[in-house]
Symmetry: D2
Subunit: 136 residues, 4 copies
Amino acid sequence: MSRPVPFVHPITVRYLEVDRQGVVFNMWYLAYLDDAMTAFLCEGGMPYGEMLAAGYDVQVVHTELDWHGPLGLGDPVGVRVAVAHVGRKSFTLRFRVESSARVAAEASTVYVAVRTDGSGTCELPPTLLGALGPPA
Amino acid sequence: MSRPVPFVHPITVRYLEVDRQGVVFNMWYLAYLDDAMTAFLCEGGMPYGEMLAAGYDVQVVHTELDWHGPLGLGDPVGVRVAVAHVGRKSFTLRFRVESSARVAAEASTVYVAVRTDGSGTCELPPTLLGALGPPA
Amino acid sequence: MSRPVPFVHPITVRYLEVDRQGVVFNMWYLAYLDDAMTAFLCEGGMPYGEMLAAGYDVQVVHTELDWHGPLGLGDPVGVRVAVAHVGRKSFTLRFRVESSARVAAEASTVYVAVRTDGSGTCELPPTLLGALGPPA
Amino acid sequence: MSRPVPFVHPITVRYLEVDRQGVVFNMWYLAYLDDAMTAFLCEGGMPYGEMLAAGYDVQVVHTELDWHGPLGLGDPVGVRVAVAHVGRKSFTLRFRVESSARVAAEASTVYVAVRTDGSGTCELPPTLLGALGPPA
């Protein structure tokens, strides 16, 4: 796997994501995490389109976020991603949203694998396990 | 058809829709128009789910917007909808985004009917024509 | 305080909030919680505009969400809000996103009070304490 | 000015921007145009932060969009930007949203310059004129 360690996904803050307080509204952090998760799996060898084509998808079942400081327009932002846990039917990613050397937010998200035919959750397929790699 | 004339769809401005300038960011007006279009057709007797179930959908092919003034948090907002044109395969709605007696924006959008089986555009079905009613 | 107990804030799912999987994308739940928090305080006697005019605001510092099931277009949605904890400089709200009798998601969010002059966090002002009411 | 001609701003479609029909929802095109406009001015020598620091900002007063085809997840997207008109207090940009060799949408937007002190519209300042360059 050619994915760099640590893996940091760059984000460009959009003008529209910044609210009246002059900072990125909390909701958009979940967009950033989703972008980062997708990039993390892709760089691990599992592009999202291939996962769907193979008949499964991932769904978020739990997430927790801690905000330590604001993000503003023009701030350089990166989302650091690491594997916290890999189970039989779920996995957990840990995120750190950074701006320069500062940690703006930390998050942890639990995903389950589901079949795209609507039959519900399933065991993590080998290709997904490969793209995740071992927990950090 | 029990839809009132004029038809005005109420909108509540979300905190996150307001940008650093303290006004609703331009993108969200397209969300307001979509909300208003859906409500307009529903009140005309064509709920969106029934339209899909009947095998067709609508797609935006053209829209133009003029902004005359800002919308802020807490402003009472209504979107006035009227039918501007009904063709064989498309129709045009005219929108007026109002706050109290003030016009914040005007817009005009052209929609085409498409089949949900992917076969492309189609003639406006009778139920949709009924829900639109005659042009104002 | 005239706020009903339990307090349930109604949400209308927007077409654009529904993703390729046919369900509301996770990010929008934070919009729903923000809407519900604002309505909860307003119904408790503290409209958001008055809070700002009084020189303070609230900021999210922690949130956790558990998704139990999907929300789709046209689903009737309500967000139940209750006070879980009131501290000196922060308070915690508990949310339950419901569709009919089904719980789609549960969440818990910690807010701090900040002064709008940029001087940082402050003690919860009496009007905010009044609008929160006692923990459930 | 080192800005390439033609100027094309790359966009990565977000998962959440794709709707039930499997295509980018119309609203997000306005986000793409805003991203592209900001990048266009920045590459022309006028970063957004410097414009604000100099005491003025731009506001959209008119936009029109034509959709020719869909954008989906994973599609390579670029927004081509050109100056269509420069007036005394306003300017017009023309956009072409492209995916590979295909044109997904075309748009034209009129912006006015405003002072950040709330005193309203103003003549386009020399630095902004410089960043725009001559109409194509």
